[in-house]
């Protein structure tokens, strides 16, 4: 019951005009980047961090959460109408969704996607509200050894387990860790890797790294393959609606998709992509068992399931993010970086020290879901028209926004130089198929990993055994070993599925 009263207080804080406006701005922006292929929620939040630094932190995070959720709603629209998933987590939606649109069932596909997204968001956010405090209670007893184990879990999960290629994933992680070590070492005061440059004594700002990798790197990558992209024509679609029969076919896939998506948010499995494909596969198999052969010709179940799954994963990824400070996707990693910019550290302390912020944020997730339902259900075809914006203006605008955001954060030309250098690095990684998420996780969690390790060793006077002393640490390492073994066993099959 205490949770409920805290949540009600949160609604009180989130329902102020300013916060409602920020939430609306967030969900609109999120829908926009969700609709546009090539722009992700991670990039959008990275670009917003320097600009929102003057805002009240609660307002800023309400806006970020709106972007995070909006991206999942928007991604479905273009997947269905144009076969162009705006986000990788909408790829599974495009399979049946675009076929439905070609069969003149676009309104039904859009409706089942938006309603499924809404339903699963609400269910998953409710779970977040009740499980985050439990996660916090668990985490209160965590000391440096446990935090070190958590960072190791996040490092290896994103770089070795999820990324398709272990060598590339680990290289990205190492580069991220290296970037995070530049500057004065907090514990000893030693100056590391600055090459005598005074501007580097404070280290390389997380904002510079995230914006450089995601925004500048992406624009350089787009420039490197700037063949004229074919003009996109939106499929005329009409107002989304569902009749009784479609609704009857949709609600079970919604629930199954939600159930599949929920656990994937809590484990560091790299975001919402895997559960959407699992949900698609499950719906297809169930349809086959029923003797229903509509899959491959536009089955509504194939849209309803994956869309519910990706929203559920997005929502529950907030549990480890807020409760432990453990990001499970690139976007969550940027949000964690944003907390650090405000001098806050997600985890048990956040719930006690910044209780108002946390509950306002959680309440705003419900409000944002309702806003997204209202914005997307009647207006989905309008959003799809965004694809007519000339891409050169879009990317030029991103470069300008990235540059100005990074410059104004510290009024330092040197930061802009660093931004472009990191952008060039991001381009190289992107060009040769290196995943960016491990770099981000390395930069953002690297300092925590190092300090936890050194504190643990100082506590134990140099005895390595302290790292494996607590039950939680042992548990985390066991989870890690299971994940590594499972991924090694499953990899050949996934590889074949990917090429086939």
């Amino acid at each position: 019951m205490e949770t409920l009263s805290l949540l009600l207080d949160g609604f009180g804080a989130a329902l102020t005009p300013v916060n409602l406006l920020l939430c609306l701005a967030g969900v609109v922006l999120g829908t926009v980047v969700g609709v546009l292929p090539g722009l992700g929620t991670a990039m959008a939040i990275a670009l917003l961090v320097p600009v929102t630094f003057r805002l009240d932190p609660a307002g800023a995070f309400i806006m970020f959460a709106g972007v995070y959720f909006g991206g999942q709603f928007g991604g479905a629209t273009t997947a269905i109408l144009l076969n162009t998933p705006g986000q990788s987590s909408s790829m599974a939606t495009a399979f049946e969704g675009f076929l439905m649109a070609r069969n003149r069932r676009a309104p039904q596909a859009l409706a089942t996607a938006v309603l499924g997204s809404f339903l699963s968001s609400v269910v998953a956010v409710t779970l977040v509200v009740f499980f985050s405090p439990l996660m916090v209670e668990l985490a209160v007893g965590f000391g440096p050894p446990e935090y070190f184990a958590l960072t190791v879990l996040a490092f290896l999960a994103t770089s070795a387990v999820v990324a398709g290629d272990v060598l590339r994933g680990l290289s990205g992680l190492g580069v991220g860790l290296a970037l995070a070590m530049v500057g004065i070492d907090e514990q000893s005061g030693a100056v590391r890797f600055t090459l005598g440059t005074p501007q580097l004594l404070d280290g390389i700002s997380i904002v510079v790294v995230t914006v450089g990798l995601l925004a500048i790197g992406e624009v350089l990558y787009v420039a490197s393959r700037a063949r004229r992209s074919p003009a996109t024509e939106t499929v005329a679609s009409g107002r989304p609606w569902l009749n009784r029969r479609d609704l009857g076919r949709s609600w079970r896939p919604w629930l199954r998709g939600t159930a599949l998506g929920v656990p994937f948010g809590v484990i560091p499995a790299g975001g919402a992509e895997i559960p959407t494909f699992l949900s698609y596969g499950a719906e297809k198999a169930l349809a086959g068992r029923r003797g229903d052969d509509e899959f491959g010709r536009g089955a509504i179940e194939g849209v309803a399931g994956p869309e519910a799954a990706n929203n559920a994963t997005t929502a529950t990824s907030l549990v480890p993010l807020l409760g432990l400070g453990l990001p499970t996707s690139a976007t969550a990693a940027i949000m964690l970086g944003a907390f650090q910019q405000y001098g806050m550290r997600p985890g048990p302390l956040l719930f006690t020290q910044e209780s108002d912020l946390v509950w306002a944020l959680l309440a705003s997730l419900f409000i944002g879901s309702v806003m997204l339902l209202v914005l997307n259900l009647p207006f989905a075809p309008v959003w799809a028209k965004l694809l007519r914006i000339p891409r050169n203006y879009l990317y030029a605008g991103i470069v300008v926004f990235a540059t100005v955001g990074v410059y104004t954060a510290r009024s330092a030309l040197f930061d802009v130089l660093l931004l472009y250098v990191v952008g060039a690095l991001g381009f190289l990684l992107r060009r040769y198929g290196f995943p960016v998420a491990p770099v981000l996780i390395g930069v953002i969690l690297g300092p925590l990993a190092e300090t936890s390790l050194r504190r643990a060793m100082a506590m134990s006077q140099g005895d390595v055994g302290v790292l494996f002393a607590g039950p939680f640490a042992v548990g985390i390492y066991s989870v890690l070993i299971v994940a590594v073994v499972l991924s090694a066993v499953l990899r050949p099959r996934r590889g074949r599925a990917g090429t086939g």
């Binding site: 992700g40 991670a42 003057r54 998933p85 990788s88 994103t158 990324a163 398709g164 290629d165 060598l167 590339r168 290289s171 190492g174 580069v175 290296a178 070590m181 070492d185 514990q187 000893s188 005061g189 030693a190 590391r192 890797f193 500048i216 350089l220 787009v222 420039a223 490197s224 393959r225 700037a226 790299g270 975001g271 996707s329 690139a330 000339p390 050169n392 990317y395 030029a396 470069v399 300008v400 540059t403 100005v404 410059y407 104004t408 802009v416 130089l417 472009y420 060039a424 190289l428 060009r431 040769y432 198929g433 960016v436 998420a437 990993a449 190092e450 050194r454 100082a458 006077q461 990917g498």
Partner: protein, 186 residues
Amino acid sequence: MTTFVRGNASRQRGEEGESTSFWTGRGELLVGMLVGSIGGFLLVRTASMDVPSSVSFLGPRFFPAVVGALLVVLGISLAVRVALAGHRTGTADAATEEPAGATGSGSEWKPLLLTAATLVAHLALLRTAGWIVAGALLFWGVSCALGSEHRLRDLGISVIVSSAVQLAFSAGLGLSLPSGLLLEVL
């Protein structure tokens, strides 16, 4: 070793019939070298680091040494793998949070170099010419590099964009952007 790589890569290139630049199939070697040299840099600078005497147990050198060694090993492994496999650029499943199927064929150099040149010019002009000029150049340069069809119209749009940003940031958010030497003299 080198000849083997070249022969292998050019054969693969012939099969694919795509762009035939020197780096086709060997580009990842560059990344391997970069990763390895970052690791080498970490190791060298760690060895010559000034460490305060108060440090006990794991000092500021331990973590960089581990990461540096890891990067050297990874860089060598990447290079060896490229050398052994010949032509194998990005597999789609490696990248998270991006649409698959975007990797593969070679880069186009002209738009890329134009974009990079725009960034360099912006850096050079930001303090001297001020934001409105440098920002407009940034927008215009990137837009042209990405294949704009209306250069003159874009110039107008660029000036509007950079002025709007100046207005929003200085008047709206109270953050200062460089006004440039010209305006300061006036």
